[in-house]
Every structure is written in structure tokens, then in C-alpha cells.
């Protein structure tokens, strides 16, 4: 998994690419989110547009990021979720937890209520 970090309108966008699964990716992503929280950056969008596939461990990685941000009064939302990832979120009912967007603009605007 590779991550590019950028900022738009006070929202951090993490552009993920490759495979999101277990192994070192979990520690890397957890540390990345913790680093953002320490800097006071708590509005995060994870762009999954270039992620080839995710397994259940990869979903666990996203959950860790989500719970870390929520505990610190932030949020983590998903952008460009593929049909495979949607299937996993739907069957595990995690689609009720994660807000998912097809448009970056809409995802950014959704943070305006914070």
C-alpha cells in the first residue's frame, strides 16, 4: 500500500494505492492517523480509487483509523469505494459506519457541519 497525503479546505485527503491488507500496512496506517491527530488534523478522507483490493484485515485497518479519529472528535470518510470494497462493507454492515462518497467535492463539503 502507498499513501499520498494532501490537504484541501482544511480536510486531509489520503490517496491510497495498491493493496490494503494486513502485515506492515496496519502499523503504517495507524501511525499515519495518530500523527495527523497529534497535529490537530482530524477531518480525514481516505481515497480508495486506486486501491486494487481490500481484504477483511484491510477493512480492520480503516476501522482503526476511524475509531482513532472519532475518539478525538474527528472523522474518517471514504471516497471512490470500488464495488468489491462496497460488497465487503455491505455484508459486514460497516456501510452503516463509514460515510462513502463518489465525489471529492461532496466529501469535503460534508465536513462543513463540524
Amino acid at each position: 500500500m502507498k499513501v499520498q497525503t494532501r490537504e484541501r479546505d482544511g480536510v486531509i485527503i489520503l490517496d491510497l494505492s495498491g493493496k490494503l491488507m494486513g502485515g506492515p500496512d496496519a502499523d503504517y496506517f495507524r501511525d499515519l492517523v495518530l500523527g495527523l491527530v497529534e497535529k490537530g488534523l482530524k477531518k480525514v478522507i481516505v481515497n480508495l480509487g486506486d486501491v486494487k483490493w481490500v481484504n477483511s484485515t484491510g477493512v480492520g485497518i480503516l476501522i482503526t483509523g476511524y475509531t482513532t479519529l472519532r475518539r478525538n472528535k474527528g472523522d474518517l470518510k471514504l471516497l471512490h469505494v470500488s464495488s468489491k470494497i462496497q460488497s465487503i462493507l455491505y455484508v459486514t454492515k460497516l456501510n452503516l459506519i463509514f460515510e462513502c462518497f463518489d465525489s471529492e467535492e461532496t466529501a469535503i463539503r460534508s465536513f462543513e457541519k463540524y
Binding site: K19, G22, G23, W53, N55, K84, S87, V91, L94
Partner: protein, 146 residues
């Protein structure tokens, strides 16, 4: 009629991509819908991930064995690890609620059970490892076409 594709790969995540590609071609050829194909592919990757992580403990010296059996009315996939085995019956008794965000892991078996028509665990006949069998039925229309 039954046709089989046999694959064996070392315990490394990088080979899962290959399994995914082969699985994608097989489900397409058999006439599964894209949505069902996704479910099969996701489940096979979950089974392979479990085999290399829990069965083989990520040891590069141990391999994962995958067989795709194309039958007229169904696809049967067997995934075997080469590990020392573990008490999977206990493992199966404690599948957490997948929507509980306090659990970081443990969703793989739930996903496979819900996406496939049948899921079975047994000791591998060839070694001490675990054999997982996943089955997905073709819908009636697709069977008639084949």
C-alpha cells in the same frame, strides 16, 4: 463434468493478486454475474489470507495450495495451508459481530460464510494443515447456457 485449476504459492501476500486474477477469469468463464464474481473472489482471497497468516504463520518455506473445480452447476474452491493445524472448531465458535468496530479482526470467516453457498473446514488429507472448501452455485439460467 468437472475441470480443475491447481495453484500453489509461497506464503506471501504478493501472490494473492495472481489468485485474484485467475479466480476472476474462472468466474467470468463460468457465467457468474459480476457481483457474484466479486463475492467469490473476495472469499477466495480471505481463505488464502487465513491460510498464509494463521495456517502457515507467514513462513516463506510453507506453501498454500488452491484448487478451483469447475462443475456444471457450481464452482468448488479448496484452499489448503501447510501449517501444523489448529483447533478451528474453537475458532468458528467465536466469530465476532462484523459491524462491531471494537474488533479489528475476525471478519474473514463471516464474510466467506455470507458470500458463499457453502463453507467447510477440515483437516487436510495430505498434511497437518487445514483445508477450507468454498462452494458457489451457478444460477439456473447460467447452468442452462453452459
Amino acid at each position: 463434468m468437472s475441470e480443475g485449476v491447481i495453484m500453489e504459492f509461497p506464503s506471501s501476500y504478493k501472490y494473492l493478486n495472481l489468485i485474484d486474477l485467475v479466480c476472476g477469469e474462472i468466474v467470468k468463464e463460468m457465467g457468474f454475474s459480476p457481483e457474484t464474481g466479486n463475492q467469490i473472489s473476495i472469499s477466495v482471497i480471505e481463505a488464502c489470507t487465513n491460510a498464509l497468516e494463521h495456517g502457515n504463520k507467514c513462513s516463506p518455506d510453507l506453501s498454500v495450495h488452491v484448487v478451483f473445480r469447475q462443475q456444471t452447476d457450481r464452482l468448488v474452491i479448496e484452499v489448503c495451508d501447510s501449517g501444523e493445524g489448529f483447533d478451528f472448531t474453537e475458532y468458528l465458535k467465536h466469530i465476532p459481530d462484523p459491524s462491531d468496530i471494537h474488533h479489528k479482526r475476525g471478519r474473514g470467516i463471516f464474510i466467506m460464510k455470507n458470500m458463499m453457498d457453502d463453507l467447510r473446514f477440515e483437516m487436510s488429507p495430505h498434511n497437518n494443515g487445514i483445508k477450507v472448501t468454498l462452494e458457489k452455485m451457478l444460477c439456473t439460467a447460467a447452468v442452462a447456457e453452459n
